[in-house]
């Protein structure tokens, strides 16, 4: 998440691309997310980044109601395209105060319990931090060839059918039509799958299920990422 450095041209370009098909940073109404990103952008973006400029002007018109917009302002690194590394992670976890030992210690028993509780709290925090780091996931990039019945088959509909197949760990990539002769074109589509969640036999089953459009399916290429 995050747009990188929003004061740099690269960061603004990322913001622009992100906003090309969205009206707001998050969700469907203006929120603190928009306020947070707006404040990080130093001035109006150049006219060439038309989506960022559009969004900027729009959020500026909410200047007076800034404080009352819904949501909670989060660190800048929490917004934006999901596949971008969060480079704004600055000591986000606030350093706990070290003065938990009461120097004018009143009750010794109380103190011991307090210190114990704090220790447990810190351990729990450490454990949860460790648990958050995602395990390495094995992924593969598969290139599929989907062949229609004849040259009259509606390839757009065929593509829609293929893309409608949703599964956890499956992400569809780009596709193109490759002619195979006699006017027939096959659909070559890329996808990225997580090995332990999606297999090619499952994909084959689901794609050939659309037997109104699909004659057959082959795996043209299979590469480990």
């Amino acid at each position: 998440m995050g747009f990188g450095d929003l004061k740099s041209p690269a960061g603004l370009q990322m913001l622009n691309d992100y906003l090309a098909d969205k009206s707001y940073i998050e969700g469907d109404v203006p929120s603190q997310a928009d306020v947070a990103v707006f404040e990080a952008v130093s001035g109006p973006p150049p006219a060439a980044l038309c989506h960022a400029l559009r969004w900027c002007n729009y959020i500026r018109s909410y200047e007076k109601e800034k404080a009352s917009l819904p949501g909670v302002k989060k660190a800048l690194g929490k917004y934006g395209p999901a596949n971008v590394e969060d480079t704004t992670e600055s000591g986000a976890t606030d350093s706990k105060d070290d003065d938990d030992t009461d120097l004018f210690g009143s009750d010794e028993e109380e103190e011991r319990e307090e210190a114990k509780r704090l220790r447990e709290e810190r351990l729990a925090q450490y454990e949860s931090k460790k648990a958050k780091t995602p395990a390495l996931v094995a992924k593969s990039s598969i290139l599929l060839d989907v062949k229609p019945w004849d040259d009259e088959t509606n390839m757009a509909k065929l593509e829609e059918c293929v893309r409608s197949i949703q599964a956890e760990g499956l992400v569809w990539g780009s596709s193109k039509l490759v002619p195979v002769g006699y006017g027939i074109k096959k659909l070559q589509v890329q996808c990225v799958v997580e090995d332990d969640k999606v297999g090619t036999d499952m994909l084959e089953e689901q794609i050939t299920a659309f037997d109104e459009y699909v004659q057959s399916m082959d795996v043209a290429a299979f590469n480990k990422i």
Partner: protein
Amino acid sequence: MAAAAELTLLEKSLGLSKGNKYSAQGERQIPVLQTNSGPSLTGLTTIAAHLVKQANKDYLLGSTAEEKAVVQQWLEYRVTRVDGHCSKDDIRAVLKDLNSYLEDKVYLTGYNFTLADILLYYGLHRFIVDLTVQEKEKYLNVSRWFCHIQHCPGIRQHLSSVVFIKNRLYTNSQ
């Protein structure tokens, strides 16, 4: 969508409880509303504007003089260029116009939601529903606007929600 059905949908979006009875006139089935105290009203945009005033939501017709004019412009556009014309080329021309127009705007009038957005959404719904993934990306601004409008509370109602993929696939189609 038939004009009478659309007007009923608009009534619900505006929060009007009473269902008016609409009749249709002529071979193009132009809607007619018989008001209780006054002349009958003919025409989609005329009746729509009347409903907006009835619902006390005059801001939907525009606040400044320029905004009001822009709202009227798009209402007229809807009736002359979207209704009645079904050829693929006409629709492609409409989408292309809209796409370049919406590049720097969040709503049709700029930054405020108006009746123009509602009626153009209803008018274009049947065409957007049939667009392929590639076409939706080609008319990216229209897709963005359409996705936004269909999420506005009370607007979409029973119309099917059109899916717009989050990650763009064809990065060279600009």
